[in-house]
């Protein structure tokens, strides 16, 4: 998108969105950005171990989708899950403490980055096996329908998972049984280090449900307002028709697949180019055009940084799980 087009779009949007909404989206995206930056830092310091998959660059996806949901809707995703938890309203302290493997973490330090849950906030993980969350999300949608809750389950997965067999088994059943599940394909162009063109026979993931009669749409995931608009439509479709829908969101991750990613599969130039059109920049431009000034934006950023620093301090200062935790939570007695 060139500068001119962007301006045109911005002016169109300005009239449609109120400033409060833009600020709210900004705050959520910024919280994810700052949280992830801090997580990366803590990983580098050895405070976070194992696998840690950052969401930087993809913030507009989950923030845009979430802005279209109701409180009782549920969400399930893969292992790149920190952003999803934060927008669901999970406490950054508890998430960060889980990353550092502390008893105060959402999973008492037993799950780590990839495995966190909050029934209270409607977040059902955090799943470490590529594609496994897809039938689970359809199962949650099944439970909503069974109990006549009018809720939907938003099920996120990536372009990599989109080639897993269980995804298609789930598409079939979700369509066959009319389950209120919204499949979000976060296409960030790389499944770990393998580009879409090297892994997938076609690069259009949205239409992969067509064989099962599932309606779909593709949207630019670098623009949170575009994502939001598409999400409102998709969510309404799922809820009112009690049917599945596939929304492919084209996005990009600015950081590596995990912390140990050498990044040899894409060029620095490519990453730099994508960063120029980052989702936060686009949104903040709109906010500034709406009469907000740089200082006011900076103030919001500082507040968020403070919140994230508090979460990091909490995560580092919290205790490791007691050794007695080792054998707890295996079976419900």
């Amino acid at each position: 998108m060139n500068e001119k087009q962007s301006d045109k779009l911005a002016s169109k949007k300005k009239s449609n969105y109120d400033l409060d909404l833009l600020l709210k989206l900004n705050e959520q995206m910024l919280l994810i950005r700052r949280f992830e930056e801090k997580a990366g830092q803590l990983y580098g310091m050895g405070k976070i171990g194992g696998f840690c998959h950052l969401y930087i660059g993809q913030e507009a996806v989950v923030v845009g989708i979430n802005s279209a949901l109701k409180d009782n809707d549920t969400m399930v995703t893969s292992y790149r899950d920190h952003g999803h938890m934060l927008v669901c309203g999970m406490d950054p302290k508890g998430v960060m403490a889980e990353l550092t493997g502390r008893i105060t973490g959402y999973s008492k330090g037993k799950g780590g980055s990839m495995h966190m849950f909050s029934r209270e906030k409607g977040f059902f993980g955090g799943h470490g096996i590529v594609g496994a969350q897809v039938p689970i999300g359809a199962g949650l949608a099944f439970s909503h329908k069974y109990k006549d809750e009018k809720s939907i389950c938003v099920t996120f997965f990536g372009d990599g998972a989109a080639n897993q067999g269980q995804v298609y088994e789930t598409f079939n059943i979700a369509a066959l049984w009319s389950l209120p599940v919204l499949f979000i394909i976060e296409n960030n162009l790389y499944g770990m280090g393998t580009s879409v063109e090297r892994s997938s026979s076609t690069d259009n993931f949205a239409t992969r449900g067509e064989a099962f009669g599932i309606e779909n749409k593709t949207v630019n995931g670098m623009d949170v307002l575009d994502v939001r608009e598409a999400a409102i439509e998709a969510v309404n479709y799922c809820r009112s028709n009690q049917k599945p829908f596939i929304l492919e969101v084209k996005t990009y991750r600015f950081r590596g697949h995990s912390m140990s990613d050498p990044g040899k599969y894409r060029t620095r130039d490519e990453v730099a180019e994508m960063r120029k059109n980052g989702p936060l920049k686009a949104l903040q431009k709109l906010i500034l055009e709406s009469g907000f000034n740089e200082n006011e934006l900076k103030e919001i950023d500082n507040k968020i940084k403070l919140k994230v620093n508090e979460a990091a301090d909490f995560a580092i200062e919290s205790k490791l799980p007691d050794e007695s935790e080792l054998l707890k939570d295996i079976i419900i007695e």
Partner: protein
Amino acid sequence: MPALSPTMEEGTLAKWLVKVGDKISSGDLIAEIETDKATMEIEAIEEGFISKLIVEEGTQGIKINTPIAEFSDSEKFSEINNDERNKNVINISNKGVTEEVKSTAIETSDKDLTSSNIDATKKITVREALRDAILEEMDADNNVFIMGEEVAEYEGAYKVTQGLLEKFGDKRVIDTPITEHGFTGIGVGAAFGNLKPIVEFMTFNFSMQAIDQIINSAAKTLYMSGGQMGCPIVFRGPNGAASRVAAQHSQCFASWYSHVPGLKVVSPWSSEDAKGLLKSAIRDPNPIVFLENEVMYGQSFDCPISNEFTLPIGKAKVEKNGSDVTIVAFSIMVGKALEAANELEKNGINVEVINLRTLRPLDLETIINSVKKTNRLITCEEGFGYSGIGAEISSLIQENAFDWLDAPVLRVHGKDVPMPYAENLEKLALPQTSDIINKAKQICS
């Protein structure tokens, strides 16, 4: 009597649909036969007149290949001599049979059982006991539902779910496509969503398609969530060898699933086990792997009829007291162990037989107490010996009751080969009663 399933050995002639003198054509329904799985209508494949109904309506236990009726080319059948009769013994096809649910129609659900007759029993098949367990628990809790291949309209590939669709409707008795990985994951998600799914695998061999969801999602999520994400789900279906269905349909997965923390693994033998344990499994807040056995489905045992009846998961049952050697077994091997015990009695060897019932958590205490009495232990399982249940028990006993042993623990198990199809080879591959007898003689010598 035609063989109408791989495991059918005998049948009941439920009803004649023709009478003597009737003209029959190919494709006409002539009788209803209760097999080990279902009541099925059988068809004639030749034309003629019914000259004699050899077997009376209601006769049970008719071995396969037993003549059940005769037909004649002419109406003057009375003149037919015996030789001709033998030639014209009715030939019935099992092709295109229609299946009906009559013999095992639901009876127990509406009974108003009081606590005073909680001990009352009735002879029912393992199949009926399983169905009663599901039915009673679905009656008691609206969040319980059953899903799987052919569980609804077909009424179960092995007829375990007979009558359930009719009673509960298609919201709660749900046919799935043949996609184990997908529907198992959906079941797990539904359990996370506070429902109580019963997922039927047509056989546990097919659960291999879905094992990731069973292990990585169902079993581990409670722990990974710090206790938040319980997964109250039952995975059930026939496990182990059936009869003549070869390697891909004849494996015991008891040791596979028992290996995994976060799962409970239950394996019933009798009707009482089937009903009591399945009801407990459905009520349990944890993921349960419930390993049934196709060969056992048609066998009958006395079973408590009360819908209050349950059996505790994690407790074994001493099926027979004895003093010379302890034999532990589960599922179909319990019957073989009891047979062996009866034979061994004649040789002066007094056997204690333990029906494990649950494989995880294992009732080690009952085994140890028995070993303290008999000082000898034999384990029995149908599955492969290597890394098997017997290997685990043997290890646990040497760790916990070594000083009580007078002889090394011996194992009876399936041969270390994929299951062969040929009848003679299959028999060689499976552990037989004679193997148990031989091991018992060895350990007591």
